[in-house]
């Protein structure tokens, strides 16, 4: 079995230099969208951004969920979770219903709103690069080791170690361990994660479970519904017939007398 790859981003180490932002643009051949990378937002041509929250910087990018909501909601299966870890999108079968955007708990996917052949866009975890055994362009570019790339379980170990070694610098949790089933982008932060704009209070279970509970009932709705309706049909029909027969007898009786 292939080990799942992941990215660890450590906000205590990030210096806000913008190297990951530039490397990502270059790697994915994305056009420039803003002169000042700190003022840019995620967009159809921007897969990652650096955001400033007071004294801290943080990155935003697709979290590459372990059991991604986008994969579960897409009616045609345009999103897939690869064995390696990245969550990828296939524009050729996408309908453009935008359910993936509506439901992503991390509010990541972006749309090419101005195009007539619009695609959903987001970070691809440099899939081509990492399937050759390399690491992601953003991790390569980071001068401060704030973004590192590796096996998911290795990175979890490193993250735990960092928290244990300097408990004063860290908020004592790893974001992405189980948020909505866990993610392949892990975050370490000096402050609670919502203060860096990460979705707080996500359930531990994958969001797909919420809809599965409804979808699981379909067979019984069909089964019970079918039997009930057919039964009802025969019953009421029979009842009407009996009522009619009785009516007829009364009528004919009446005639006889």
């Amino acid at each position: 079995m292939i080990k799942q790859k992941a990215i660890l981003f450590d906000a205590t180490l990030c210096v806000g230099c913008g190297e990951c932002y530039n490397a990502c643009k270059e790697q994915n051949k994305l056009p420039a969208t803003n002169d000042d990378f700190l003022k840019d937002h995620l967009g159809a041509n921007t897969y990652t951004v650096i955001e400033e929250y007071g004294d801290y910087y943080t990155r935003k990018l697709c979290m590459h969920c372990v059991e991604p909501t986008c994969v579960s909601v897409c009616p045609v299966g345009a999103f897939t979770k690869t064995e390696l870890g990245p969550v990828l999108y296939n524009p050729d079968i996408c309908l453009g219903c935008r359910y993936c955007m509506q439901s992503c708990p991390h509010k990541i996917p972006r749309y090419e709103w101005t195009k007539n052949n619009p695609r959903v866009r987001k970070c691809v975890m440099c899939y081509d690069k990492i399937s050759k055994g390399e690491s992601t362009a953003c991790a390569d570019a980071c001068p401060a080791e704030a973004t590192i790339f590796g096996d998911r379980d290795e990175l979890i170990k490193i993250a735990k170690q960092r928290i244990a070694e300097s408990p004063d610098s860290y908020y004592p949790e790893i974001y992405g361990l189980n948020e909505a089933g866990g993610t392949s982008v892990l975050i370490l932060s000096p402050v609670p994660f919502d203060q860096l704009g990460f979705a707080a209070n996500l359930p531990k279970e994958p969001l797909g479970n919420y809809t599965m509970r409804a979808l699981d009932k379909i067979p019984s709705v069909v089964g019970v519904g079918g039997v009930f309706l057919t039964g009802m049909y025969w019953l009421t029909k029979r009842k009407n017939e009996i009522a009619k027969e009785e009516n007829d007898t009364i009528k004919s009786d009446g005639k006889k007398i």
Partner: protein, 377 residues
């Protein structure tokens, strides 16, 4: 009398023409400039008026088709039979308009056929897509006899009539799945919706409210048929339908309140915020006032009150669907979304097309007078 009616019709014709012309212009913009040129949607608010109104309301208001089928053919309450054809026609047109509306909302409408070959059964949207396809087919077959009668194609007609009961049963099951699945779509947004509307019971709410609204639509259609044939409305039948509708509304309301209390969110009702206000409006307009009227026997047998309550139920239904798609999400995520002029104009155009088609079809086919039961004795 005639002099009074005529100018009214011309007025509505003029309005309709203006709506269609603006709608066509918006259509041109939509398919040349993309969604950005025509909608106020954005990355944080990807679903707006077209999903909320064209899809959710379109499907919901088509519910009269399956509820009346259930009443007349499954529960065999034959006296309602004259109401079945107009209800099936409305449902059929409703679904066609939903599909038409989807062409505007989908980013890649030309890829829609992929839904047939690329399956993801874990997706509610997949269920929705298949329900639309299958139920539209069923409605087509349920409606076909009307056309076949006119064309006098007896053979085909008798074949379809033979399978009519299984077809109805299939239609009712598909509708049940479809109406509720539109609510299930939102189950995956626990962290993005206000708890006033988010609940694990959303599919049940959507189902029950669709039944209530479906009955209200049947009342509307009966009034229209009465006007078309200049006869009186059969108030006996209709007031009963009104009562059914009220019962479903109340059931839905009780479940909602119990669910709000059990989930510990009842305090949301006592906040002063825009969303609470909109929630109250929805409940008052769509549930409390109309069911209050309909529960009083003296009121529900009066044409005026029955008509008013049916109007309120439909309005409240639209209100609810818009609240779920727009208010619940915008208030929770602190976003502003208001449909653009183009979004509104396209939606209005679809409504006009629907009404026009209904008028034309009822004029040329036997929709209202399948049997002469509605005739006032």
């Amino acid at each position: 009398m005639k002099n009074f009616v005529l100018p009214k019709i011309t007025f509505w014709r003029a309005v309709g023409t203006i709506i269609v012309i603006t709608g066509l212009y918006s259509t041109y913009l939509r398919f040349t400039g993309g969604l950005a040129a025509t909608t106020n949607l954005n990355d944080q608010f990807p679903w707006g008026l077209w999903i909320g109104f064209d899809i959710l309301c379109g499907v919901g208001l088509a519910a009269g088709g399956f509820t009346i089928c259930a009443v007349t053919h499954i529960f065999n309450i034959k006296q309602f039979k004259p109401l079945a054809r107009p209800a099936i026609l409305t449902a059929f047109l409703g679904y066609l308009l939903v599909i038409f509306g989807l062409m505007y909302d989908l980013g890649k409408p030309y890829n829609i056929w992929h839904a047939i070959i690329d399956w993801n059964p874990r997706s509610v949207m997949f269920e929705v897509a298949w329900c639309v396809m299958l139920y539209t087919t069923v409605l087509f077959l349920e409606f076909a006899p009307v056309v076949l009668e006119k064309l006098k194609w007896k053979k085909l007609l008798s074949i379809i009539k033979m399978v009519s009961i299984p077809l109805m049963i299939l239609g009712i099951i598909l509708s049940t799945l479809h109406q509720s699945s539109l609510g299930s779509l939102f189950l995956i947004l626990p962290n993005k919706m206000s708890a006033l509307w988010y609940s694990g019971m959303l599919p049940v709410y959507f189902y029950l409210s669709a039944i209530a609204a479906g009955f209200a639509m049947v009342i509307f259609e009966a009034f229209m048929s009465a006007r078309a044939f200049k006869r009186d409305v059969e108030m006996n039948l209709l007031s009963k339908i009104g009562l059914y509708s009220a019962l479903f509304l109340i059931l839905n309301f009780v479940i909602k309140i119990v669910d709000l209390s059990l989930s510990g969110n009842i305090n949301l009702l006592f906040q002063t915020s825009q969303q609470t206000l909109l929630y109250y409006l929805e409940i008052l307009i769509g549930t409390l006032i109309p069911s209050g009227i309909l529960l009083v026997k003296d009121l529900r047998v009066q044409k005026k009150w029955l008509y008013i309550s049916a109007t309120l139920i439909v309005a409240g239904f639209l209100f609810n669907r818009m609240n779920v798609t727009i208010t619940a999400i915008s208030s929770e995520l602190k976003l502003d979304y208001f449909p653009s002029f183009y979004e509104v104009s396209i939606t209005l155009m679809l409504v006009v097309f629907g009404m026009l088609a209904f008028r034309l079809i009822t004029k040329y086919f036997h929709i209202f007078n399948e049997e002469k039961v509605t005739l006032n004795a």
